[in-house]
């Protein structure tokens, strides 16, 4: 890697810790962010010459704090300090600081920062935008692109979120509330991942970084809570899904279904890491939704060919998930496994009662169409596919359903000709 590459990677990795500590000093997100920004600029100047400091986060916190304090003083005194002398002061001091900053604060700081971003008063969209801006350090432009809104609108969303939490004192909550807030942070990471994962076609390149950021957030969470099985499950789930990303779209950016994917394109190192995490989580014997979903993803990842997939086990896992977290979407997913194990009729019976609640859901009509097709109700299937296309979230989704419809048309033409 070039200088800029490794410095960039080090800055990215150090950012949550550094911004979190600076937030503790300044109690203001904007000041903390500016101080980090300034410290990063100094790092870009200094590190190529000195090499990476032993603890990049500590360096950035120290420099960021001093720069911010100096700029406050300077503003107060209205007289500029000699810039160069200031920098060399910082460098002299740098050697000794790595150990002097209390690293015991680190995890509490980062936790507080994550809790601030996932403040219960903020709606989900603002939580995500704020976390991506403040914790991950994406630019407003990058976030705006990922969420398909204008830069001005995203800027406003973030500003509004900051204003909303500015007055909210955020002490570290006690153990019980901590669990709840941790769940909110985990959910936020999962949403960020899905925002990236569900993108396709032209959007995919703009939104793919969201998956990387979500993975980074989940890794950070697991470092903060190394013995929390649900966080292991969350990370495992994200890693296992991400492992398939190389096979999910074809050359024309169209969706490739799980059973049609070239499994040699799956990232085996990532799959192994996901499996190791699940293995570890299960030892705790405290099952939870992320662990179950990760276990389902693991069964898919572990099948060398689609026909090797253990659908009965997947059915059982979805049943467990339904119990923990009843939702029509979970039942819908379970129906896919049920169709494989007990046939399309059983699956149809399972999803028919969901019609009311999922009538606006693309996947419901897509799956229903496919099942109807399998039991020979072609007219109904065609209607279901038509609904699905109308509800598609992306051109790739619509195109995928259209291929079903085309096949249906071709089949009925062929059948008509045979008569």
């Amino acid at each position: 890697m070039t200088d800029v590459d490794w410095i960039g990677a080090a800055l990215t990795a150090a950012r949550p810790q550094a911004v979190a500590a600076l937030l503790r000093y300044f109690r203001d997100l904007d000041t903390a962010e500016e101080a980090f920004q300034e410290a990063s600029l100094r790092a870009l100047k200094t590190w190529p010459r000195t090499g990476p400091p032993r603890d990049p986060a500590a360096w950035l916190i120290f420099v960021g704090r001093n720069v911010a304090i100096d700029s406050v003083r300077r503003r107060a005194r209205q007289e500029p300090l000699p810039e160069e002398a200031q920098i060399s002061d910082l460098e002299d001091a740098e050697a000794g600081i790595a150990e002097s900053i209390d690293s015991g604060h680190y995890s509490d700081d980062v936790l507080r920062l994550l809790f601030v971003c996932c403040h219960p008063e903020l709606p989900g969209t603002q939580q995500i935008a704020l976390a991506l801006r403040v914790v991950s350090g994406l630019t407003v432009k990058q976030i705006a692109r990922a969420f398909l809104v204008s830069e001005a609108a995203m800027e406003q969303r973030i500003t509004r979120a900051k204003r909303r939490i500015a007055d909210a004192e955020v002490p570290l909550p006690g153990a019980a509330e901590r669990g709840q807030r941790l769940a909110a942070v985990a959910a936020m990471s999962y949403l960020v991942f899905n925002e990236g994962y569900s993108a396709s076609g032209g959007e995919a390149s703009a939104r793919a970084p969201l998956c990387e950021e979500a993975l980074r957030l989940a890794r950070l969470l697991l470092r903060l809570f190394p013995a929390e099985p649900e966080i292991m499950g969350l990370l495992a789930l994200l890693i296992l899904q991400h492992a398939r990303s190389g096979a999910r779209f074809d050359g024309q950016a169209a969706i490739v279904l799980l059973e049609d994917q070239d499994r040699t394109l799956w990232d085996s190192a990532k799959i192994a890491e996901g499996l190791a995490l699940i293995d570890k989580a299960i030892r705790h014997r405290r099952r939870g939704p992320y662990q179950i979903q990760a276990a389902i993803a693991a069964l898919h990842a572990g099948a060398r060919r689609p026909e090797d997939t253990d659908w009965a086990q997947i059915d059982a896992l979805y049943a467990a998930l339904e119990e923990l977290q009843p939702s029509p979407v979970v039942t819908l997913n379970r129906a896919v496994a049920v169709a494989k194990v007990r046939g399309p009729e059983a699956a149809l019976t399972m999803i028919e009662p969901l019609g009311d609640r999922l009538s606006g859901y693309f996947y419901f009509h897509g799956l229903r169409g496919a099942l109807l097709l399998k039991v020979g109700r072609e007219e109904d299937a065609r209607a279901a596919f038509g609904r699905a296309i109308a509800l598609a979230n992306s051109p790739a989704e619509a195109a995928h359903i259209r291929t079903h419809l085309d096949r249906l048309m071709a089949d009925s033409v062929a059948a008509g000709g045979a008569k």
């Binding site: 590459d5 292991m232 192994a272 890491e273």
Partner: protein, 124 residues
Amino acid sequence: MLYAFLCYNNEATVCSWTKEEDDAVMAKLDVVHRKLVKQGRFGPALRLMPTTTGATLHKEKDLVLDGPYAETKEALLGFYVIDCDGLDHALSIARELAAANPGGAYEVRPVRLFLPGEPGVGAA
């Protein structure tokens, strides 16, 4: 003499590498690896999964804790076994590896006992 090269680096940084960055580092290291293979000096080498995937058994209390034994700024991320002429030679190889993969440290230690995993071999 065989030396173990213990690779330490900041795990958060290494995990932050994109696939492209990771591949670039591995490609650079591969050049050094191949040279050592050609010289017949390259022993087993391995890269560990992140510390979050592992657990530690504390022997006295038979206590299993998630994560690495020691919470350190730099984690043990992998190691090499390389046949070196001596410490100076080992350090020069470490410098070559470091040029390909900056950041962190290599701890270089002579190997006292090497069991390559085949039955009956290496007991000396």
